[in-house]
């Protein structure tokens, strides 16, 4: 028999993802206000490396979440009064969130790969250089990183609104992602 809500692993990964995404947004707004790097001014070094570490980790988490969700599919919600457009919007928003998280991480990595800064994953695994420093490419991927991030924030707002809507109706939908 299929279970009623998402598996515990999926629930933990989902909330880990949520906290990490919000941390990345909030910390990135702050770290972009730090002085530009120079040999004497290294304010940006730690926050930028942490940003990359969490971003790369997010890719791993979201791929794990995708695997868990596809492998252990819960029964569809028994909500007969949910309008079809609402059901399809929810599916579209989920697909968009998965796609955009991956896109934001990929564009961020590609932008960083074209700078003179190396990527040392959690300060222990050195990523091989995939490109020479190139200001134009860095700027191109950086712009894409920024716009996909704004789009992600927008779609998260839709996702959160949906969750709050169902919580206010107390129809049991949000309970599926809160099984602990």
């Amino acid at each position: 028999m299929q279970r009623q809500g998402f598996s515990r692993t999926a629930v933990i990964l989902h909330w880990l993802l949520a906290v990490s995404i919000f941390f990345l947004f909030i910390s990135s707004w702050w770290m972009m206000g730090l002085p530009l790097p120079s040999p004497e001014l290294q304010f940006r070094a730690f926050p930028f490396q942490l940003h990359k570490n969490i971003g790369i980790t997010l890719v791993i988490i979201i791929l794990m979440l995708l695997y868990v969700r596809l492998r252990h599919r819960p029964t569809p919600p028994d909500s007969t009064d949910m309008a079809p457009w609402m059901h399809w919007s929810a599916i579209a928003a989920h697909v968009a969130i998965y796609g955009l998280v991956l896109a934001v991480c990929l564009t961020g990595y590609l932008s960083s790969a074209h700078t003179r800064w190396d990527t040392v994953f959690w300060w222990s695994i050195e990523f091989p250089r995939i490109a020479a420093p190139d200001e134009e490419m860095n700027e191109f991927w950086g712009e894409l990183h920024m716009w996909t991030a704004w789009a992600l924030l927008g779609i998260i707002a839709v996702h959160v609104s949906g969750a709050i809507y169902h919580a206010f109706r107390n129809d049991g939908i949000v309970r599926r992602m809160m099984r602990w």
């Binding site: 009623q4 809500g5 629930v11 909330w15 949520a18 906290v19 919000f22 941390f23 947004f25 909030i26 910390s27 702050w30 972009m32 206000g33 730090l34 002085p35 530009l36 790097p37 120079s38 004497e40 001014l41 290294q42 304010f43 730690f46 926050p47 942490l50 919600p77 028994d78 909500s79 200001e135 860095n138 700027e139 950086g142 959160v160 969750a163 709050i164 919580a167 206010f168 107390n170 129809d171 049991g172 939908i173 949000v174 309970r175 599926r176 809160m178 099984r179 602990w180």
Partner: protein, 183 residues
């Protein structure tokens, strides 16, 4: 087949309060974690004599960041101003409170889920954790009030807003518990 997803017998107030607590908890965990990082990064990178080197603002970096030379120079002045406005005790106090706040905020996400499912311990734990978060806000407020105008301008408005939100969560949970007790 009974569907546990549609347990409409679970109290409405707990469902609403739980989801609001989760949303705020996710956001606040990130805010507090960022605050702890902020203090650590600024403190550890400030020159010992407090004299900042001249700004390094190459043309291509300015273009990439979308800022002017004046703004590039201001970034240094800004971080210097915030660091110099902080009394010696402030970074450690703020880091400790932010660390405790991040842990409590993350626990409030779990508590929020328990409220939505209305587990037996949920409402009691919610009062404790939401009160703890309100206490962290109060302590941060007290710490910032004892600094100067620069840090008050940066922090006080946000801290006050969080305190009001946490107070609402505490009072909302207490009201829900009283309604359940009287039902």
């Amino acid at each position: 087949m009974s569907n546990e997803n549609n347990k409409t017998s679970l109290p409405h107030w707990a469902s609403i309060l739980g989801v609001v607590a989760i949303m705020l908890g996710v956001f606040l965990t990130a805010v507090h974690a960022n605050e702890a990082m902020k203090q650590a990064v600024v403190t550890s990178n400030m020159p010992a004599d407090g004299v900042m080197p001249a700004a390094d603002c190459p043309e291509e970096e300015l273009e990439e960041e979308g800022i002017t030379i004046a703004e590039c120079e201001y970034l240094i002045e800004h971080v210097k101003g915030v660091a110099l406005a902080a009394p010696d005790w402030f970074p450690n106090v703020q880091m400790t409170l932010a660390g405790v706040g991040a842990v409590l905020a993350f626990i409030s996400v779990i508590i929020g889920g328990a409220l939505v499912n209305y587990t037996p311990w949920a409402s009691k734990a919610a009062v404790v954790v939401f009160s703890g978060l309100a206490a962290v806000d109060l302590l941060q407020f007290a710490a910032v009030v004892n600094t100067g105008p620069t840090l008050r301008e940066v922090y006080l408005g946000g801290i006050l807003l969080w305190f009001i939100l946490h107070l609402m969560l505490v009072v909302g949970t207490l009201a829900g518990r009283h309604s359940e007790a009287n039902a």
